[in-house]
């Protein structure tokens, strides 16, 4: 059997910018106020009445070849075989190179702890077979999460049948959040 490959799909047409994902993440992971592990990009076009608004949630892309992991001098930033990019706080010296090196600005410095922080796909929940908090809480089902290597999963089906794009592929990081068209 293939190893797991956790993957997040985002159907941004469904997003209504309610920010429940941000709140759920903050509650689940004790994210301090003033910082957020995820955010929602807003795009507004046109003039009334011919207008459109688009919302696109974003967070750590858990890249295929993450630059944060590459530049880390101690190996504190690492990528698990199941695709999740994590930070081993005990090894981190707090140089913040990873924060500077992330093309998505997905990391921020926890001033109180002296280490960077970012989305972990709620790795502690994955252990129990539960989806990340943002995925579970999203009221309009924007987020589809699962194992891309499991052919019976919804993400695998979506990746095979739907068109999608990724953010800033030109940076060469191989981002792994797929935005459905």
């Amino acid at each position: 059997m293939l190893k797991k490959k956790y993957t997040l799909l985002i159907d941004s047409k469904r997003c209504i910018n309610c920010k429940a994902c941000i709140v759920a993440c903050r509650a689940e992971n004790n994210v301090p106020l003033g910082h957020s592990r995820l955010w929602i990009n807003e795009e507004h076009r046109g003039e009334w009445p011919k207008i459109s608004s688009n919302f696109e949630p974003e967070q750590c892309h858990h890249c295929e070849s993450p630059s944060c992991v590459r530049v880390c001098p101690t190996g504190a930033s690492y990528k698990r075989p199941d695709g999740v990019v994590l930070i081993n706080a005990k090894e981190c010296v707090g140089c913040r190179y990873c924060i500077v090196a992330c093309p998505y600005n997905a990391r921020f410095a926890r001033e109180d702890l002296g280490i960077p922080e970012k989305c972990t796909y709620c790795a502690h929940r994955l252990e129990h077979g539960e989806p990340p908090a943002c995925v579970e809480t999203c009221p309009t089902k924007v987020r589809i999460f699962g194992d891309a290597n499991d052919p019976n999963s919804l993400v695998a089906e979506m990746l095979n049948t739907r068109q999608y794009r990724v953010h800033k592929p030109e940076t060469g990081n191989g981002p792994r959040i797929f935005y459905l068209r």
């Binding site: 880390c72 001098p73 010296v93 924060i99 030109e170 990081n173």
Partner: protein, 318 residues
């Protein structure tokens, strides 16, 4: 990035690391090119050896205190990651600092060394055992130090250049620019110390430092300008990031204060002082004030270069 993660402390550290590298490199060259009669440039070599360990040491202390978890800094030396410029740099810095310290000891005048050890041995009895003459190590130390100093000098730029997420940095020209700026500021610091000293500067010393510095500054110019040209001809993200110095908030600092006051003006001053030597073989008409001003301008320009790149780079993004 909206927030600046690497601030003034990092600017200082990159500057001081480069400064030491430059001082060591120039002083090492002087060691090798020393005339046989024992005079010549041995004063530059000695000054360089005396100065070189301190900027890099201060820089390392600053770097450690800039860490979010400074008490874990030793973990940098429990790992070696060839992919991470910072890991390579940490090791380079460590080796370079050790070499500069040994070199400092090897260049200590015998008299001063004896006095120091006499005082020390009153407190620690076994200290006298370490009072050894290392003056024969000077040339080998310079040889070992050359690649290390060049490594430290270039690494400060590679640290930034290796970040593909920041288009303002992501070219190897940044590494070259930082290296030659480091060498030039090293020359300048030696010029400052030599011209502030009551002893008069000898013709050969000033010619040695000026010749080197003029070369370094010219190379720097021919890296800085291609950096801009290359960037303007590059992909859109790079072009956009160059706006920071082509009309954006760092334009004045880059063109007027770094390129103008920090490179062209001191270059003009140095060339002007060297002209009599270049045109005819007449002796140099040397003016201490002019030398010191040129050197100070180079030192400030070098600092500005780091400042502009560290800050503007973090503001650039794809």
């Amino acid at each position: 990035m909206e927030r600046i993660e690497w601030g003034l402390l990092i600017v200082n550290y990159l500057y001081l690391g480069g400064l030491s590298a430059g001082v060591f490199f120039v002083s090492g060259l002087a060691t090798y090119l020393k005339q046989n009669d024992g005079t010549g440039d041995s004063r530059i070599a000695r000054y360089g050896a005396m100065i070189a360990p301190w900027p890099v040491s201060i820089g390392c202390i600053i770097l450690i205190f800039d860490l979010g978890n400074w008490q874990r800094f030793y973990k940098l030396f429990l790992h070696f990651r060839i992919e991470s410029p910072m890991s390579i740099g940490s090791w380079l810095l460590l080796l370079f600092s050790v070499v500069t310290l040994i070199n400092f000891y090897a260049w200590l005048p015998e008299q001063k060394r004896n006095v120091a050890f006499l005082r020390l041995s009153k407190r620690i009895r076994s200290a006298e055992r370490f009072n050894i003459d290392l003056s024969s190590w000077r040339r080998p130390l310079a040889a070992v130090g050359f690649p290390l100093s060049l490594g430290v000098g270039i690494y400060t730029g590679v640290l930034l250049g290796a970040v593909q997420a920041r288009p303002f940095w992501n070219t190897n020209l940044v590494a070259q620019l930082f290296l030659f700026s480091a060498l030039s500021t090293g020359c300048a610091l030696l010029l400052v110390f030599l011209s502030l000293n009551r002893k008069s500067l000898e013709d050969s010393q000033i010619r040695f430092l000026y010749t080197l510095d003029i070369c370094f500054i010219i190379v720097e110019l021919f890296i800085a300008l291609p950096y801009v040209i290359h960037g303007e001809l590059s992909v859109k993200a790079v072009q956009d990031s160059l706006q920071l110095i082509m009309g954006g908030s760092y334009t004045l600092a880059f063109w007027v204060f770094f390129l103008g006051m920090g490179l062209l003006v001191p270059l003009a001053l140095e060339v002007w002082e060297m002209l009599p030597v270049l045109r005819t073989k007449s002796p140099l008409k040397h003016n201490k004030l002019l030398t010191a001003s040129a050197a100070f301008l180079i030192l400030i320009g070098g600092y500005l270069l780091r400042y502009i790149f560290v800050y503007a780079g973090q503001k650039s993004a794809f």
